[in-house]
Amino acid sequence: MAKSNQIRRIFFAEDNVADVVLVREALERQSLNCELTAYPNAQAAILAAERCGTDGYPVPDLMLVDLNLPWGHGCDVLAAAARNPALNSVRKAVLSSFVGSPSDVEKARRLGATGFIMKPANLEEFLDDVGRQIARLLESSSAASQ
């Protein structure tokens, strides 16, 4: 109970604003008290990942990264996060419209991604499944950090 009241920070590298809105809606359905920060391209996300842990850039509870981003690739963002010690214990997940090529998935896994969420085409599935999976990742992440 205390957990859900606590504000959880989610770092979201996603260029499709429509998906950001859908994720927000999904989080709302899960009654999660979240602060979702979306970065619309790879460069913005990399910069943010490098600064996390410094003044004015709090360490998030979860990093969600879309693999297909303009000005770079989701894996570049994961690589930047892997270089930042402040993000060591933060749970990282890939949120993509498709599972991606096997090599991309493998690369993301090596760079520290432990969750893989597929964006469903169906609205209800999106709102329910994605919300539930994010909630689960947040839970396991807080369990890990405690």
Binding site: N16, A18, D19, L22, N68, S97, F98, S101, P102, S103, K119, A121, N122, L123, E124, F126
Partner: protein
């Protein structure tokens, strides 16, 4: 002596020569003596001619060649010695053996006779056996002489033939010793090299063909020479210019040892033609290589484009789909019938677009020369995975799936999953009014496994058998949820696995899809993947 001579003759050439009678001349002024001689020589069965005087004998010698002349010494007018002298003075009868018949054993006579070229004396009274035997020796001698003459003629003819062949040859022919000293050349050699024939004799063939070597000598003891195969060596003309020559050396034995015939052919045109062919081939190879690079590049570009297109299309269309659903959820109550239909169309087609893009992506995965590894795959487990992903469809349609025990094969698992998933879901999707029944089985064929997926669905007309394997080819209207890419994915996957896909079907009686899959041993993968992944 007699027997030895006749034996060697009869052995060698007697059959050819025997029929020819040899002429023998008997000269005696006494007719009785002549008759006696005739009687004695009868058994020799030769052609005996008779002369009663030296003059007659000389006349006969003008027209005939005799193997021997039996000459009586004592005759009126011309006596035997005088006759012999005259016979000897003629060229034709210079060497005709003469036997003198005489009653006197005087040394003077003997000397005179031998002086005149007599080969023998026979003393009267004549002993028939002795005469027969002596004359027979001359008969044999005459045969030998004839034989030798014929052989000489034959030899001359052979020599003429040889010369004709040599001169008529299209090649320059040079006959040399084994050290290369030129003994004989044909006229073609003059024209080819510009040297006169006389100038070449005695010089070394290496002046013409600097790299000339004598054909290999096999086992020195037996001194056998083996003809060298045709080789191409540079040749030098008198003016110092060079040309490529095709050379064949063949040795032959002569009394003094071995000679070598070297046939030389000007290969200039041939070399030019060869060079032209080589040049054309190189040019061709270069062009093929360039074209291949171009094709590889455009293939790669196309692949990337298809991949990006399928992927990038999926993203916006998914958004359209989600939001149209959201919109219809939030405002359903405010819309009239027509507006609802409009919204449903948007949803339907966005959904279909999304499926198409997804299918295209799968197709690219199936056909791409990808990184998926060949491993040992248990087809039973593959089927289990497939059936669990199709769970909803199976439950909803009430389909009955039967599956024989399947083998464990060396394959690419992802592709097998796609294959079975598409074939089974097609069987469910295109069902008839009956409960869908799908049977999966496998059979060990001649060059691999043959898998079959049998359904009791709508069936397909044979004329569409090829059509249905094309990308985005559909036989049914949009309301059947197919994307028209499932079978194209199957075909691409099977082909990448080195197999083939086909079907048996008729409208109303279901379909059986077969695909064969090579049965590779582990060792074969390395060599085979290059083919399969091409």
């Amino acid at each position: 002596m007699k027997s030895a001579a006749s034996a060697s003759l009869s052995n060698a050439h007697a059959p050819a020569l025997r029929p020819e009678k040899v002429k023998i001349l008997a000269v005696d002024d006494d007719r009785d003596n002549l008759l006696a001689l005739q009687a004695i020589l009868e058994p020799l069965q030769q052609d005996l001619m008779l002369a009663e005087s030296g003059t007659d004998a000389l006349r006969l010698c003008l027209d005939h060649d005799f193997a021997a002349i039996l000459l009586d010494v004592r005759m009126p007018e011309l006596d035997g010695f005088e006759t012999a002298e005259l016979i000897r003075s003629r060229k034709r009868s210079l060497h005709t053996p003469i036997l003198f018949l005489t009653a006197y054993r005087s040394d003077e006579q003997l000397f005179r006779g031998y002086d005149l070229g007599a080969v023998d004396f026979l003393f009267k009274p004549i002993v028939p056996e002795v005469l027969q035997s002596k004359v027979n020796v001359f008969v044999q001698l005459s045969w030998s002489e004839l034989l030798v003459r014929r052989q000489a003629e034959e030899l001359a003819r052979t020599e003429r033939t040889f010369r004709a062949v040599l001169e008529g040859a299209p090649d320059a022919m040079v006959i040399t010793s084994t050290t290369g000293e030129i003994q004989l050349v044909n006229s073609r050699t003059d024209t080819m090299f510009g040297h006169s024939r006389e100038a070449l004799l005695g010089t070394n063939i290496r002046n013409l063909i600097p790299e000339w070597t004598c054909p290999e000598l096999i086992s020195g003891g037996i001194a056998m020479l083996r003809g060298a195969p045709e080789t191409r060596l540079p040749a030098t003309r008198k003016d110092g210019s060079n040309f490529p020559a095709e050379i064949t050396c063949s040795p032959f034995g002569v009394a003094e040892g071995y000679l070598v015939t070297t046939a030389i052919r000007d290969a200039t045109t041939q070399v030019e033609a060869e060079e032209r062919i080589t040049r054309i081939n190189q040019e061709l190879e270069k062009r093929v290589a360039e074209r291949t690079v171009e094709l590889t590049r455009s293939n790669e570009a196309l692949r990337q484009f298809a991949w990006a297109a399928s992927h990038d299309l999926q993203e916006p269309i998914r958004t359209v789909l989600s939001y149209s659903q959201w919109l219809s959820q939030s405002i359903t109550n405010e819309l009239d019938e027509k507006q609802l239909i409009m919204l449903r169309f948007i949803e339907q087609h966005a959904s279909r677009m999304h499926q198409l893009a997804g299918g295209l992506q799968q197709y690219i995965v199936a056909s791409e020369a990808g990184q998926q590894a060949w491993t040992s795959v248990d087809c039973n487990l593959v089927l289990k995975t497939v059936l669990s992903t199709l769970q909803e469809n199976i439950k909803e349609s009430g389909a009955v799936i039967e599956c024989d025990h399947l083998p464990v094969i060396l394959s690419i698992e992802v592709l097998l999953v796609q294959l079975f998933k598409n074939l089974i879901s097609n069987g469910i999707k295109y069902r008839s009014s009956q409960t869908p029944r799908i049977h999966i089985s496998s059979l060990r064929g001649e060059d691999g496994w043959v898998f079959s997926v049998r359904d009791n669905g709508l069936g397909i007309e044979p004329k569409y058998f090829d059509y249905i394997f094309g990308v985005f080819k559909r036989l049914h209207a949009v309301d059947h949820s197919g994307t028209g890419i499932g079978l194209a994915i199957c075909k691409a996957a099977v082909e990448r696995l080195g197999g083939r896909i086909w079907l048996e079907s008729a409208p109303g009686s279901g379909s059986v899809f077969y695909f064969c899959h090579p049965d590779l041993a582990h060792g074969e993968i390395e060599s085979d993947t290059s083919n399969l992944l091409r």
